[in-house]
């Protein structure tokens, strides 16, 4: 495994190198002079422009600029953002990332869960109304034009029915007396989610270990108790209403993303399940007289999970990359909206930083998928 990981990390570095090269070439290839764009930006003080010139080697030949670009990227030096001067690019990206993660991890998790449940169900009972309804509606939604569909959702649920906010991630009227920033609340929400996940994993592990003495039955109450403790902690913190406000603003984008993307997971799960149910071990489980639900959930579905997990991890990365549209429509100021604004305002350092950042996350996701494979399926061994 260690050798495999080493090999994969080497490949990852090579791919990252290619990404950086392509990014550099793309920026160089745009109309106008890249060097003068940096060096002549009138918004920046002349001395800062000089510093830029030195930092990026703008008065040197292109190949030298390229080498400097690689060195700067490796050291995390993307320079300062033109549009957020004098803030460094990494600072801007770090501020926006938690918002994107909270929204898209939630959306992807919900979409994955819904898709997986439905996929499992329609594969098990083929030819029923559920299969036709889920497949047709899922496929129709999957092919919907995202911005139009998102606007339609806003129009129905926010404007016409007035149930949910039009966009943004918070209501100024709720936040105007708050003493904390939204970034802190987002970070705390992420921390809470991570803590709950860790607790859930621990409970799951413990329940499996104590299966023989009937410990599984205590897992659900334990999880509920954990959730209750966390909810209580939020309530007592005095900022629970702020987290609730964010959650309220998340409902519409999460619902939209779920409706658009659950079909992918659903169909993948269905196909994977259909292959798995033909396997001998499923027949053996049935022959042993195990209940239908147990055969489906614990024998067939678990083995059908592998390709679905791959898809999940990739969707998480795509979520960050493809968030441009959704974040614009829902006024959710994460990485996507930042990238769009940077392109609009020709904030080149921020554009390059965001692209490299997304590329790096994609590579990391690939690596995680490979490692996760081994964890999920003991049959897979890397050499």
């Amino acid at each position: 495994m260690a050798g495999y990981l080493l090999r994969r990390v080497s490949q990852m570095i090579l791919t990252l190198f290619l990404i950086l090269t392509v990014t550099f070439v793309l920026v160089q290839a745009q109309p106008g002079d890249y060097a003068s764009f940096y060096a002549l930006n009138p918004d920046l003080p002349p001395d800062v422009r000089e510093q830029m010139r030195a930092t990026f080697g703008l008065d040197r030949p292109v190949w030298e600029q390229y080498l400097i670009h690689m060195r700067n990227t490796v050291t995390g030096n993307f320079g300062v953002s033109f549009g957020h001067f004098p803030r460094p690019v990494l600072d801007v990206l770090a501020e926006r990332l938690p918002r994107t993660i909270v929204l898209f991890v939630s959306a992807t998790a919900v979409s994955f869960y819904v898709g997986f449940l439905l996929g499992k169900a329609i594969a098990w009972r083929r030819g029923g109304i559920l299969e036709y309804a889920a497949t047709i509606s899922g496929t129709a939604l999957f092919t919907a034009f995202t911005p139009a569909f998102a606007l339609m959702m806003i129009w129905i649920f926010a404007f016409r029915l007035g149930w949910l906010p039009v966009g943004k991630f918070l209501d100024p009227l709720v936040w105007r007396d708050a003493d904390v920033s939204s970034t802190s609340v987002f970070s705390l929400m992420l921390l809470t989610a991570a803590a709950f996940l860790a607790f859930a994993s621990l409970v799951s592990f413990a329940s499996r270990r104590s299966q023989r003495i009937g410990g599984r039955r205590s897992a659900v109450p334990l999880l509920l108790a954990g959730a209750l403790v966390l909810a209580l902690a939020w309530y007592l913190s005095g900022i629970g209403n702020l987290a609730l406000d964010i959650l309220r603003h998340m409902i519409l984008p999460v619902a939209t993303l779920t409706l658009i993307s659950f079909a992918g997971t659903m169909l993948l799960t269905r196909n994977s399940m259909l292959e798995t149910v033909r396997e001998d071990f499923v027949m053996a489980a049935r022959a042993k007289g195990l209940p239908d639900a147990q055969v489906r959930d614990r024998h067939a579905a678990r083995n059908a999970l592998l390709p679905v997990v791959t898809s999940l991890i990739y969707s998480l990365v795509f979520a960050i990359d493809g968030s441009v549209i959704v974040e614009s429509v829902f006024s959710w100021p994460g990485i996507g909206l930042t990238l769009l604004e940077a392109v609009r305002t020709e904030d080149l350092p921020l554009v390059m930083g965001a692209i490299v950042f997304i590329g790096f996350l994609s590579l990391l996701a690939h690596l995680v998928v490979d490692v996760l494979y081994a964890c999920l399926d003991p049959r897979i061994r890397y050499r």
Binding site: P45, R99, P172, R176, W332, P333
Partner: protein, 598 residues
């Protein structure tokens, strides 16, 4: 808080700073301007709607500029009395020291961006506080209106007490770049205000909020604009001021200064569509956007209850420019013929269905103080046949000849004979020329104009081809390379029309200069120089009128059109004392200190 009167505004881009030094420096975005407006005092400002130059923190107009020797140097100086009783929101007085501090920091730290045009290092020497309420400003040379009355006098004054420690830290930071960086990077917390509002909070990506300045000096002042041009401002028991004539007779406008809102919240939306939906839903009262509402969004808002849509001319123009370095563009008769052939009214009203407004001078009509409505409007009201006849007459008169002379049908409905073989007065054929203009994807209005202009020119035998291309390429060709024949672009314009000098004075005709067409007329240069050196507002106005007249006749540009700026607000909740204003309400950042609630 419950019951608060909150003025809710929608914006479509986030702020990039709340630091006023940085806002007027490298972070000079429109959006920062919207939010940070109305928080800092200024010596002089523009009056509402009519843009008269009036005292604000100053008690009256400044003393005339005086030449004097200071420390062996000859300087120009002026004195200004400040109003007494104007306070920062922390309760301390706004004094001459605050002005001195702000101007000196801008000078000493060589602040960039808009600062050099406010505190021009070529003119500003230093300022002194003769006493807390008397300010004396010294200039190295005699400053014109652009440098003093419409430059330094508009400088936002920052609190010395708050900023002095920050500036002291910046000065320790090393070289000048580092000093600027430290100053720009400071995030103000609890910075006092002397405007209508005190900046309260910026939740990045979500909203910004300003709270009413309870101690705002001007609250309750009554401003009156008289039909005879006079301006009056009264705060009972505090001060009374009038200018530009006797304040009597019919009142064109009268309003009371607030703020009447307890707070102004700027919600940040990701797109115009989302902002419009928020406006329709009632989440916001007004949407700030420098371009106003697009046609599609206007239609979305049509017929909605509780909303009022207003339309104003924008403070910018689109124009056709000539390259004077090449014949026949250097021939005035040729330029007038081109101007005559362009039927702006037909294009704006018939083809573009009223989405553009034809204009004939560089100073927009809404800029009432400086606009000359009597400039020659070449071609206005002429029929197609009359235009062609006039263009032929002009060209013939200048010595141009045709192999086939253009001729309209007897009823003037169509070209019976297209012009061919046009030759210049020296006998050489008029070379094929190109008109570079933005493509339809970037600006359908300008590309439409370009296509029609090509057609009209070709009809009379002028070999012009419209070359619709990318905006950046046009800018590069016109300003960087100066390799073109004619071009169509636009300018956003300031209220004070010193751009008449920078766009057309021959000193700016070099590479990267604003006078990209290379227009050079010594007579105009003299006019522009005089205007720049003028220190009297009335005299400057006369000069600007003459300059507009000159340009409308000499035609370095054919000024084409401007676009109306359309805005919508929730009239069931708020009201403004006036809605007719150049550039729309967004130009005044949504009139936060004047908006009232129903």
């Amino acid at each position: 808080m419950q019951g608060d009167r909150i003025y809710q505004l929608g914006i479509t881009a986030d702020l990039t700073t709340t630091n006023h030094w940085s806002y007027l420096g490298p972070d000079g975005t429109t959006w920062n301007g919207y939010v940070l407006s109305d928080t800092k005092p200024v010596l002089f400002s523009y009056s509402g709607q009519r843009f008269d130059w009036v005292p604000s923190l100053a008690a009256d107009f400044p003393s005339p500029l005086r030449e004097e020797v200071v420390g062996g140097r000859t300087l120009w100086s002026t004195e200004i009395e400040l109003k007494q009783g104007v306070e920062w929101s922390d309760g301390t007085d706004v004094t001459a020291d605050d002005f001195v501090f702000t101007a000196h920091v801008a000078r000493d730290l060589q602040l960039t961006g808009n600062w050099p045009s406010i505190v021009d290092p070529e003119f500003f020497d230093h300022a002194e506080a003769l006493d807390p309420y008397t300010l004396k400003i010294y200039f190295t040379k005699r400053p014109g209106l652009a440098r003093w009355q419409f430059g330094l006098a508009f400088m936002p004054v920052l609190s010395r007490a708050y900023w002095e420690p920050v500036v002291a830290e910046a000065r320790q930071a090393g070289d000048i770049t580092e000093q600027q960086r430290v100053l720009y990077a400071h995030v103000p917390e609890g910075e006092p205000s002397a405007g209508g509002f005190v900046f309260d909070r910026w939740e990045q990506g979500a909203y910004a909020e300003k709270d009413r300045n309870e101690g705002f000096y001007f609250t309750g002042s009554v401003v009156t604009l008289y039909a005879n041009g006079a301006y009056g401002e009264v705060k009972p028991g505090a001060y009374e001021f009038s200018a530009y004539g006797t304040p009597e007779g019919e009142k064109a406008l009268e309003f009371t200064v607030g703020p009447f809102a307890d707070s102004a919240i700027y919600s940040i939306y990701g797109s115009q569509d989302a902002t419009v939906l928020a406006l329709k839903k009632g989440d916001i009262d007004f949407m700030l956007n420098p371009l106003g509402l697009s046609k599609g969004l206007q239609q979305q808002l049509q017929g909605e209850d509780g909303l009022t849509t207003i339309e104003n001319p924008s403070s910018g123009v689109r124009y056709l420019g000539f390259n004077f370095r090449k014949p026949p563009m250097d021939d005035r008769a040729f330029r007038e013929a081109v101007a005559t052939l362009i039927d702006k009214e037909f294009l704006t009203e018939t083809v573009l269905q009223g989405v553009a407004i034809p204009v004939y001078t560089m100073v927009p009509e809404g800029n009432t103080a400086w606009h000359n409505g009597d400039v020659p409007m070449i071609g206005r009201g002429m029929s197609r046949a009359e235009r062609v006849a006039r263009a032929v007459e002009l060209l013939k008169g200048a010595g141009f000849t045709w192999e086939v002379e253009p001729r309209m049908s007897d009823d003037g409905a169509f070209m019976e004979e297209r012009g061919e073989g046009l030759r210049m007065p020296n006998g050489e054929p008029v070379p094929p020329m190109s008109l570079i203009a933005p493509s339809a994807g970037y600006d359908p209005l300008r590309s439409t104009f370009a296509i029609w202009i090509e057609r009209w020119m070709n009809e009379v035998g002028i070999p012009l081809r419209a070359d619709l291309t990318g905006f950046n390429l046009i800018v590069d060709k016109v300003f960087t390379q100066q390799d073109f024949d004619m071009w169509i672009l636009g300018w956003g314009l300031t209220l004070f029309p010193d751009y008449l000098e920078t766009f057309f004075h021959s000193r700016y005709s070099g590479l990267e200069g604003r006078n990209a067409g290379g227009y050079s007329n010594p007579e105009y240069d003299r006019l522009a120089d005089d205007f720049l050196a003028e220190t009297d507002v009335d005299a400057a106005r006369e000069q600007v009128f003459r300059m507009q007249q000159f340009l409308a006749e000499d035609l370095p540009y054919v000024v084409l059109f401007t676009t109306p700026i359309v805005e919508t607000f929730r009239s069931d909740r708020i009201d403004f004392p006036y809605t007719e204003i150049l550039g729309g309400l967004q130009e005044s950042a949504g009139l936060t200190s004047l908006v009232t609630f129903r």
